[in-house]
Amino acid sequence: MTETLTKIVWNGATGETSVIPLSSEELAQRALDVAAYEERAAAELAAKNALAALKASAKAKLIAGTPLTAEEADTLVI
């Protein structure tokens, strides 16, 4: 059985509170919100992993005494 998604609505004109199924527009917006979240989460994870990789590379080069790239140096310089 398909789950019916709902909203709880208080109507200031009547003072009544109702449980109403989401409209097709609201369901579409919900899908957009989920997709936007997934895209944002993927981008944040990629950025986090990229920064970690740069830092690790910068540290290794410092220890080895080899030159850092500008990107690697940016992770260390405040």
Partner: protein
Amino acid sequence: MSMTKISTITVGVGGTNTIQFTSIPDSYDDLYIIASTRNSSTLEHVLIGFNGSTSNFTGRYVTGYNTNTASGEYARYIGNTSTSTYTANTFGITNIYIPNYTSSQYKSISGESSGENNSAVYWTTVFSSNVWSSGSAITSIELTNETGSTILEGSTATLYGITKGSGGATVS
């Protein structure tokens, strides 16, 4: 200044996807919402909408979680809820202030929130600031979760009307 409770929405059995206040009276100066929520997801973000629209929002946030801090841009992000992985029977608190909600100017929205969790490992506090770039008066407010997850039974949201000055008089 006076603060008047307008309405409380309480989520019942089965939960809901959205909490919505509609036909909000236009007789106040500002609005204030206290939301106490828990969701069925493992993620915490609460989103706000006005007048059935999610458009024309610009937002920024600062957050502290565990021993970390972060900041960024995130339209409609207003606060945090407690999630299904948090301490049982615990709800996150989000305080939302909306000044001049009937104005013909753009609207600012301030959020202060905490995803309550009795844990030394993971909990979250958030300060958020949004702008709704619309000259329309706010007549309805919607709260939902970014992942579309269920707002669980026992969650509540209370809407207050704020009137400037003693007895409603304008402070000069």
